[in-house]
Amino acid sequence: MHEVLGPQDVLVRMQEELQRALKKKPAERLWKMVIDLRKCVGCHACTIACVAENKLPPGVVYRPVVEREIGVYPNVSRAFIPRPCLQCAEPPCTPVCPVNATYTNEEGVVVVDYEQCIGCRYCLNACPYSARTSDFGHMYVNKDVPVAEGLIVGRDEAGEYERAANYEYGQEWKRSGKLQSPVGNARKCHFCLHRVHAGELPACVTTCIGRSTLFGDANDPDSLVSELITLPNAIRLREELGTEPKVYYLV
């Protein structure tokens, strides 16, 4: 705790833990996420941060926030459930892949090899959480967007931004408008591994205004996530399936 500024922001703590985890061998760390539903205000900042970070095209989403309205007017309340890929320890989506394009990496994250994926979309149907989407090659900037010469929102400028590469899995993926990967592939949340390996927390974690989304190495007994996932109010979605998600919810 800081004497002047008060309690330390969990972001700072998670950042320190991240640095500590990165000093270990990849196979010795186990990334997990905790989402405190009591703090989520449904601002969708995480969704947008994810879209911006991974330059997700229309129709592709890694972290939707599912909203539920409970009760009947006037006795109504709303619940928000951010739903990234749950990075199951027993993922139903990987064994169905006919070409080994999707698998759990040594850090416990379910990843997609874009160059190997044939685009059969079997994994999309196999995921019990519908956490995968397919990139059908849609673009935000198309011929219907006005040119608006000189303005930042014009077709050319916006198009240039859209065509710029993203860096998922630590590789450069340009979006030229042609049918090159990741167009035609299954896509999913990967805990922003490219950021994590560079010493940064996932985009959804850093942008969460309520500090609802927390992330860290569950193999570190002193980490925040290790503390939280043992709480009695920590649950996982559809436990009955035995998929052992690595994303926990505090309720």
């Binding site: 229309p58 129709g59 909203e67 139903p92 999309l124 090659g137 849609h138």
Partner: protein, 425 residues
């Protein structure tokens, strides 16, 4: 006595003439002799229709390669649509007809008239297989990476098994067709017979695995379980025996009691399979609808009472089951009537895989409530109706298969009765 003999001879001549006309009509097109005026024959029309359909379908194919899957109605919540459903339908037809044929000819030693269909039936299966492979190949996000399944397969995936079995099935079929084209000896017959026996477990495995591809999907409760592999096998037998019956009635037509008797036997077999299929469908439906658990029941409710109720009630039940059963049960049962019933059943049977594949995916809200409105964009909807592009690609595949059949039938002369030695089988 002489008069009777003359009548009989006349009839025989008439039949022979009809056969010659039929054969001439389906010959490969030959350029008109110099100076002879061009005459439009049935053969020209058959080729013309096929080529025209292929050209029209090519528009969809061009779009598919130029724009990927963008022009389709497919999305992330309904990732499989018309092409996957048609693929399953074609697999049922292709495999089912060969399973029924092999069992009837080689196991139950049915009438030799049926065995004479072998070359044409193999050709039909190859044509259907080509349609199926085109459609499933084009359904891939990266069709040109198809070879990945062959060089780096994951054997834990049933889709891998499905693709490999289909490839092996293609090889067996090609081998059988090659044997049909070779000069017939006792050895070739033996090899062909053993290939047929080999294709039997392979075919059953292919259909069951194709059903299991859906059955193991935990994400779609309406598919999950052992029901679909069984339903796929029964559907394959229904569709296959329908196709076999149709082909027999249409291409083997003779004015003989043996022909009519065999047609009737095939009709009875078709009815038997249809009855089993109906029973299984009703039982499966009741088991799902009675508890009414939304994750499972919504898909079936959509099939029965959703916006495309007519696909089930009118196309499948009405035209595909009630009318054929009426025709097959008719007292004045004639071969032509059996052929019409079988043909109707085969064509409308496409409704079955459509109703298996699509409504389950549309029912995503029953599984993941609120997901549809959580984030919106193209393909993030619980909606699906094939676009023109999808229909055009389907037309291309069907036209391609049709031309394969026409080529084999007219040029390679893979047609019934081309080999009298086959009767030994």
């Amino acid at each position: 006595m002489t008069e009777i003999k003359n009548n009989s001879e006349n009839e025989q001549e008439k039949i022979e003439q009809e056969e010659i006309v039929l054969a001439e009509e389906t010959e490969a097109p030959t350029p008109p002799a110099p100076g002879k005026p061009f005459q439009l024959t049935t053969n020209h029309i058959l080729w013309g229709v096929g080529i025209l359909a292929l050209l029209i379908g090519s528009i969809g194919l061009f779009q598919r390669f130029a724009e990927g899957l963008r022009p389709t109605a497919l999305g992330s919540y309904v990732p499989w649509g018309l092409w996957v459903a048609t693929y399953e339908y074609l697999v049922w037809l292709e495999v089912g007809s060969l399973i029924v044929f092999t069992v009837l000819v080689y196991v139950f030693k049915w009438n030799t008239g049926l065995s004479r269909m072998a070359p044409m039936l193999y050709l039909t299966a190859l044509a259907i297989l080509s349609m199926a492979l085109i459609l499933i190949g084009l359904d891939l996000g990266h069709p040109f990476r198809f070879w990945h399944v062959l060089v780096s397969p994951q054997w834990g995936s049933l889709m891998t098994w499905m693709i490999w079995l289909h490839m092996l099935y293609l090889l067996v079929l090609l081998a059988k067709l090659a044997l049909e084209l070779l000069s017939h000896t006792k050895t070739t017959h033996q090899v062909s017979k053993w290939l047929s026996f080999l294709s039997l477990p392979m075919g059953i495995a292919l259909v069951v695995v194709a059903g299991s591809v859906f059955g193991v999907v935990i994400g779609r409760p309406a598919w999950q379980g052992s029901g679909l592999p069984v339903i796929f096998l029964i559907s394959s037998l229904i569709a296959g025996s329908g196709l076999l019956t149709f082909l027999f009635v249409w291409f083997m037509r003779e004015d003989t009691p043996a022909y009519l008797e065999l047609a009737r036997k095939l009709a009875r077999l078709l009815l038997a399979f249809l009855t089993i299929g109906l029973l299984v469908a009703i039982l499966t439906g009741l088991v799902i609808l009675y508890p009414g658990v939304p994750a499972q029941a919504t898909a079936l409710q959509l099939t029965l009472f959703g916006p495309f109720w007519w696909v089930y009630w009118i196309i499948h039940i009405g035209l595909g089951i009630v009318v054929p059963i009426f025709l097959l049960f008719s007292h004045t049962q004639r071969a032509r009537r059996i052929g019409v019933a079988a043909g109707l059943l085969v064509i409308t049977f496409i409704a079955v895989p459509l109703n298996i594949v699509i409504p389950t995916q549309l029912a995503i809200e029953a599984v993941e409530k609120g997901l549809i409105i959580a984030f919106q964009g193209p393909g993030l909807k619980a909606e699906y109706f094939p676009t023109i592009s999808e229909w055009l690609v389907t037309l291309f595949a069907l036209a391609f298969g049709y031309l394969v059949f026409l080529f084999g039938f007219t040029v390679l002369r893979l047609r019934p009765g081309s080999d009298s030695n086959l009767e030994e089988a």
